[in-house]
């Protein structure tokens, strides 16, 4: 069998694509695929897949860490700005929904499956904040989005559910699930901006 007929795990490839800056993505993915093919032909596909997963996770963690250390103040500033934007965005988003007389608590208007109206609005606001933060930090979109997601998860994912448990124990689990989804919304927003930037830079490069 030819070495290039082995295929690395799709999810691991996606993980590297998603989190590693585009200027390093091609060479890192190429190196991983080359070593994966060599390993698959000598040690078997299962061992090679395990190796690929390990390398992908270590590489993402390492590059994220060094990405943060290279510009800690820029990222910290963007995270702080993101927190403020979230605060304002969520307040104004809620007010806008109430302005249009949507009785969200009574009817649970479903704009996105599994999310009530107010949750959908918050999901969209967090995604937009993810976009804004990514626009402010070119080349470090994902590391900043992860930092902001972690801060949000720490602030709202722990404090808010604790408050909810005291008031209404039945709603604690849905709130917790929603907070996780909201953190993913920030990452999604940043990923959209990064992909658009990548597509534009590739377009300029070709032109």
């Amino acid at each position: 069998m030819e070495p290039h007929t082995f295929h690395p795990p799709v999810l691991a490839v996606w993980l590297v694509d998603f989190f590693i800056p585009e200027n390093r993505d091609e060479s890192i993915q190429g190196d991983l695929v080359e070593e994966f093919s060599n390993l698959a032909s000598t040690s078997g596909v299962s061992a090679a897949r395990r190796w690929y997963w390990r390398q992908s996770i270590y590489s993402v963690v390492h590059l994220m860490g060094t990405g943060f250390c290279a510009a800690p103040w820029l990222i910290a500033g963007a995270v702080l700005g993101g927190c403020l934007a979230l605060w304002f965005g969520l307040e104004w988003g809620d007010l806008a929904l109430f302005h249009f007389n949507v009785d969200l608590h009574a009817h649970g208007l479903r704009m996105i499956p599994l999310l009530s109206g107010i949750q959908a609005e918050r999901f969209v606001v967090m995604m937009l904040v993810g976009c804004l933060v990514a626009l402010a930090v070119k080349g470090r979109e994902m590391v900043t989005a992860i930092a902001l997601s972690l801060v949000c998860a720490a602030l709202s994912g722990l404090a808010y559910p604790a408050w909810t448990i005291v008031r209404n124990p039945e709603s604690a689990l849905p709130v917790r699930v929603f907070q996780l989804a909201a953190s993913i919304a920030i990452l999604l927003g940043a990923a959209i901006v990064r992909e658009i930037r990548f597509a534009l830079s590739r377009h300029h490069h070709i032109v």
Binding site: P3, S27, I28, G30, D31, S37, Y58, H62
Partner: protein, 120 residues
Amino acid sequence: MSSRDYLGEFEHIVVLALMRLRDNAYGVTVRQEIATRIGRDVSVGAIYATLERLEAKGYVTSRLGEPTAERGGRSKRFFRVSPKGVSAVNRARRALLSMSEGLNLVGGYSWSHTPFTRLS
């Protein structure tokens, strides 16, 4: 001279690997060279993070090669040590030699020579 002008331990190892590999220095070969020579299994991400730092310091330059089928149509990024990088390696080597001069490192280091000798 600022602290950024000095090579860290892993940076030193990577630059020496690049010098050994000459025109065939890219992620895979650098990783393999380090594993073969010193038995240290490092991630591809660690290699690239270090190479990027060295490039920012001006110790290393890089160029993209042609895409190849064995890499899924992706290009290799070849690295080369710049004259500034060679000077940095020589400086680090001289510093290490100077600091280790007169120490008995072959037969094992004797703690009794240090100011922190044990009381017992």
